[in-house]
Amino acid sequence: MWKSPEPKKTYDVIVVGGGGHGLGTAYYLAKEHGIKNIAVIEKGWLGSGNTGRNTTIIRSNYLWNESAFLYDHSVKLWENLSQELNYNMMFSQRGVMNLAHNEHDIKEMKRRISANRLNGLDTQWLETREIKKLVPIMNTHNLRYPVLGAAFQPRGGVARHDAIAWGFAMRADEMGVDIIQNCEAHSIKTKNGKVVGVKTSKGFINAKKVAVVASGHTSVLAKTAGVRLPLQSRPLQALVSEPIKPVINTVVMSNAVHAYVSQSDKGELVIGAGTDGYNSFTQRGGYDVMEETVRAIVELYPIFGKMKMLRQWGGIVDICPDASPIISKCEVNGLYFNCGWGTGGFKATPGSANVFAHTVAHDEPHKINAPFNLERFSDGRLIDEHGAAAVAH
């Protein structure tokens, strides 16, 4: 599907990280900015990091204008991505529902819905009986935190996680991008405040620009270039059940009891848990976190009580203090970071790659990602999305 060349001596741009965000960055750099001498280096195989470790939920119902523009830019690209890449993303706009379990949830969600509607997003409020109609298997009343309503975004949904990595990889490869797997970036070399290349497990590669999209390991790499980022890396878990007949045809998330679930086309329930309460790079996560989520799932959906879980995994997510990403230049010339996606980066894959490619090509941000700079951690213009992030951190 793509060539696997040995690295050349020099590239115009090296993208570190062969997940969806990194491969998308290379794709948009080649397609929209005419830069062809690009390498994407990946320490494992394509999409083996968080691109393959998430619950594939896509939505854009974020509170603040900056986030709404960024995430909806992405949803709009998702809507046409199968055609654009000529590869089936299996993008299914089955809707995403965020449940309210108490007075505060209701107020916070209605505020968010109003903000969304002012930004032209399709979020709406559902009463409990409307939720029951969409998800008949849900137990809305006989539980500790009853379901009092929900925010619903019909344009949200799910997609196939591998497809976005492979789709971007194939089209980037056709435009001459070198996709180099099993090539681990060890350190970023700089000289007089300018980036000169990347030391990798396949030797040193020169580069005019280096774009780091390494999710949980971004701060480890940044440190090798002398850059400190406001990130903390934590395991985030998900699990998948045995396949059953279709019982749930939308995505249901609950922030308060911490359970979110959708059903894959194979019939498995895809369940997302929270992050562990401490920094770790172990890619597994604690049993107590899983137990908490499964307990909430069983209470919300009693029919899942006797189901068996097939697989569980963890990915290392990099969390920013304001639960918003960093898509930014830094104090080193020619070094760019797209990181801090925390618990919700998959939905943003095409949008983030698109604006990041612009940032790398022009050495200045696209107007959509300009607010997601590093300066916000000193000038105070934080974009606090802890409410919309919907995963406990």
Partner: protein, 116 residues
């Protein structure tokens, strides 16, 4: 799930504890004279190493006392636990078993405590 040896109560499940992030971050002196950048570094920036990490824990569902720990974040192995006010142990006293510069074992994930 990891077991943590609380210096006051003994070994308990990690779920009884809360993590307090990086240890030994001192509030800067004369903070009124700091510029926004310096203040931002203190408020938002913390170390995030893959490997030896000095951190704080509190035994929330036990004695509710705070203490420090040294943990290897690539394996979750707790190397040392010491009380607040004690001198932090020397970083060189812990052998770093990580196999590549970024801390990954040569094959697979950072999960080598499970593999061995």
């Amino acid at each position: 799930m990891i077991l943590i040896n609380c210096p006051y109560c003994g070994e308990r499940d990690q779920s009884e504890f809360s993590n307090g992030g990086e240890a030994h971050v001192a509030r800067p002196e004369n903070s009124e004279n700091l510029n926004d950048k310096e203040w931002g570094k203190y408020v938002f920036y913390r170390d995030n190493p893959k490997g030896i990490f000095y951190e704080r824990w509190v035994h929330t569902h036990g004695c509710r006392k705070w203490f420090n720990a040294v943990r290897n974040t690539s394996t979750d192995e707790i190397l040392k636990i010491y009380k607040l006010g004690d001198n932090p142990p020397n970083k060189e006293s812990f052998s770093n078993t990580l196999k590549t510069p970024s801390g990954e074992p040569k094959v697979g994930s950072g999960n080598f405590t499970v593999k061995k």
